[in-house]
Symmetry: C2
Subunit: 255 residues, 2 copies
């Protein structure tokens, strides 16, 4: 099983939209995926229709008070399971801050899943922060998928998350975590801003940037209110086409 | 001086865009404003053209190693000053987590400014998180201004920040902090989603919701790349008109 952290400390760049829709598009192709919602806001959990349940997140597991197995929920997609989030997960930042192994605790908890053969990928939706939840996801991951909005603040944030990735690889926490890819999201073809941000990012990061670009499309922001992924809510929309393209490109690269 | 925290743990809802442009529009009317950038991403600082300088944030002041006075920077607007942010501010979460007074430390540091008569308002741009930086801003503030995107995830986030506000008022940390207002942002008049979110929020929160609605407008997202506020970059754009309206409504309510 490969673990992919979908992370960017900048808020609102499409981490959740990407995590849930990439997971759904991979599952549609028969790839076996486990989606881990590591954001206390639990947007991915509720947007897929698996809202937070008290004690249902990784929180008690990270504290050593419960088993991981019981948190895995089979979804309506045969090859997609989810570990939902819950607000109590926010408390882990302070709980773990005091522990010696705060950065590697998540990796330890997820280790048994790596070799039991049930899943091909784990996708982790990270919260918008520089805190322990995000850094421990990077410490546990094999690859980092960075969504970035086609906006000015997106560029500033990208340099930072790439720097954090550098720090993780140079420390002995997780020397092998690679940048899986940089995904341009909420692209608005009518604005020069979108075009110039994509050009800037491609110029600097070259092939690390997925060829697939996710357009700004209102059906992507409507689908969560119906607790559906984009391929269920609007299967022929531009958003569905783009995330299916991304799933194909993701699998091609991952080989 | 009244302290207004601009906060919402949901990412990308327009906290920074609102903090910097409301501050500029108030300053334009001669209101004396101090903008405090409490987000380690330092988006507000760099978007106004006062990029992070090592040691230039509140970080050393919160640790008791430096004076507040030296962090206040006069901007090109005569009645607007800024305390910029810097990435090291992210470290305060762990540093303060171990201190007894972690929630009230910011309020203590800001106290001398309250009565020295130089500023009418302090506006605090908060990071997208449930961590110590955001909660200590709420603990120090007189009012909470909550920007919310006209999107589904925005509704989910609103309930949470309102709950956090409740907790702060019920604890003896800051019983008097009020909800200054709820601001609808990135309103797209072409979509039903925007309309229905505004209706939902107004139905539940009534007059707490500002009458002014900020439209989605590309010049608001372009201005930061020119290090300008919206009233400098595109003074007759819909974004500039809306933020000037907001400044007027803000002052009317604040009396
Ligand atoms: N391509 C798109 N087109 C239109 N709207 C989008 C698109 N992608 C995401 N959105 C909407 O933009 C908002 C932000 O996206 P999302 O919540 O996925 O970002 P995030 O990075 O997970 O945010 P956070 O930092 O709070 O976790 C949401 O309301 C979402 O529905
Ligand atoms: N009304 C608007 N119209 C168009 N774009 C906007 C508008 N308001 C904000 N933006 C853009 O949307 C993005 C998110 O806004 P902003 O960074 O202000 O949100 P934030 O809540 O401060 O994010 P974070 O949670 O990362 O701090 C930015 O790229 C910004 O330029
Ligand atoms: Mg998210
Ligand atoms: Mg911001």
């Amino acid at each position: 099983m490969r673990i992919i952290a979908v992370a960017n400390q900048k808020g609102g760049v499409g981490k959740t939209t990407t995590s849930m829709n990439l997971a759904a598009c991979l599952a549609e192709r028969g790839v076996r995926v486990l989606l881990l919602d590591l954001d206390p806001q639990a947007n991915a959990s509720s947007a897929l229709g698996y809202p937070p349940q008290p004690g249902g997140s990784l929180y008690p597991v990270l504290l050593g008070e419960d088993w991981l197995e019981g948190k895995i929920v089979q979804t309506r997609f045969p090859s997609l399971s989810i570990i939902p989030s819950e607000m109590e997960l926010a408390g882990i930042e302070i709980e773990l801050a005091r522990a010696e192994n705060h950065l590697t605790r998540l990796a330890e908890v997820l280790a048994p899943l790596r070799n039991d053969g049930r899943f091909d990928y784990m996708i982790i939706d990270c919260p918008p922060s520089l805190g322990i939840l995000m850094t421990s996801a990077l410490a546990a991951a094999d690859g980092l998928l960075i969504p970035i909005q086609c906006e000015y603040f997106g560029l500033e944030g990208l340099a930072k998350i790439v720097e954090i990735h550098e720090q993780i690889t140079q420390s002995d926490i997780n020397p092998n975590v690679t940048i899986e890819g940089i995904l341009m999201t909420m692209y608005d073809s009518r604005t020069n801003l979108s075009k110039s941000v994509v050009e800037d990012v491609r110029r600097v990061f070259g092939d690390l940037v997925y060829k697939t670009i996710i357009p700004r499309s209102v059906s992507l922001s409507e689908a969560p209110s119906y607790e559906q992924s984009i391929i269920e809510y609007a299967p022929s929309s531009r958003g569905a086409v783009a995330y299916r393209e991304l799933a194909k490109e993701f699998l091609k690269r991952a080989r």
